[in-house]
Amino acid sequence: MRYVIIGMGVAGIAAAEAIRRQDSTGEIVLVGDDPHGFYSRPGLAYYLSGELSDRQLFPYAAQDFHKLNLRYVKGRVTRIYPVEHQVDVDRHGRLDYDRLLLAVGSTAVRLNTPGADLEGVVKLDHLDDARRIVKMARRAKTAVVIGGGITALELVEGLVARGVRVHYFLRGECYWRSVLDEEESQVILQRLQDDGVRIHFCTEAAEILGKRGRVVGVRTADGRQIKCKLVAFAIGIRPRTELAQAAGLDVERGILVNEYLQTSAADIYAAGDAAQVFDPLSGRSILDSLWGPARDQGYAAGLNMAGQQTAYVKSAPFNVTRLAGLTTTIIGTVGRGQDEDLLGIARGDSETWRQLPDAIVAQSGFDVNRLRLLVGEKRLLGAIVMGDQTLSMPLQKMILTGVDITPIRSKLLAPNAPIADVIADYWTQWRKEHASQQ
């Protein structure tokens, strides 16, 4: 049996681990085109902020690869032949497979503003991007950041940490409107301003200005000019679907797979950022750009490929991140609608966060500690915890396991309810009562 995995990200590695667990003798071939191999993409933000050296971003050591007993082919798959069960690998020729996994990830949506191809226009997708930004930040005094979601702020904060003056362009008046509410957005923007970031509301870049091929500034749609040497953008991501599409596989926003991670073609699976995964609970197919689900999907795909039928059960998406230095946990469904600063989905994002739930909002908080809950009929559907993280773990467990909140529902929805205390008390009691089952 030969398993071919395309992509050496977390989904590809998790699949290889699962296959090896089931099948100790089958041949695993991992084809990857990233010259740096497997590293923590979310960790790039911490490298940018100076909390980490780039050498630390690699979770796998040589012996870990050795244990998997796989063959690594450094190259790019350029074509899939589903009927023949073969793939073309750039400069390596054709390769047979019995089972194939597409774990090809996603890529940053390009900026189509005139001047976007100038030297000094950067994104944060890849280790090379991060290294380039670190290098450029040494000479750039001023930068413009365009876009939304977590990555845009990681760029803003990374540049600030490196002593660059940052102008942040927002198309509207809010930050990450599809996930945060107005007040939360306000808290974040205020903190950025306190850190010296110039925020330009309702601002669009009309042109990136250059001289001798290099960025020298940005002209806004309302005619202002800002001098800068660096323009960083994060306007969303797009799953890599080209290979699948060219091979005739079913593709929507991502590569469509069922709950066993099978694509529409026999013996071809997909997982991670590239996959749009069917969720039997909601009956929809959803995109995530999250490390945890990518790993889980990769693992489930690997088990299925090796003959151990395993449904991937999507749990409530969850992310802990730092927004303007404020630790923020996002669990389950919290936001709604569209975001004018992003096209589609952002890094560290899930489409589930925006499915308008049948829920009522309860919130509390002042200054930087803030808690917002989405209260369903019987259970909590989502939560945002900003600042103090004491409740983040209990809420994660309550939402993920669907703890019945009937006894406290009315308390949570009472005007000016101290919801943090209500949750803390209930959780303590619930845990005591369920200690024996845990």
Partner: protein, 91 residues
């Protein structure tokens, strides 16, 4: 570059005193993105990140329970649990 605030340092000091006795570092693997800040900051070079990937507590006898990894993790993956309450597995 000094990224930590005084508050963080204070908290770190507090955690250190609290657990110096008989604690283990325990991970919550779903929160982890394998960035490596924990291993990077371990004064004796324990591969904390590797433990988290495998969902294992840091039961290394060399662990000083100094709290560096717990305090520095930007995503709250790590916490201390007392030895006697803990059975060695996290998942």
């Amino acid at each position: 570059m000094d990224i930590m605030s005084f508050q963080d340092l204070f908290r770190q000091e507090a955690t250190r005193r609290e657990v110096l006795t008989t604690g283990h570092v325990v991970p919550e693997p779903e929160r982890c993105v394998q960035c490596g800040i924990c291993s990077y900051n371990c004064p004796i070079g324990i591969d904390v990140r590797g433990h988290v990937w495998q969902g294992r507590a840091v039961k290394d006898s060399h662990c000083l329970t100094c709290g560096e990894c717990v305090a520095r993790c930007p995503r709250g993956v790590l916490s201390f649990q007392r030895t006697n309450l803990f059975d060695g597995r996290t998942k």
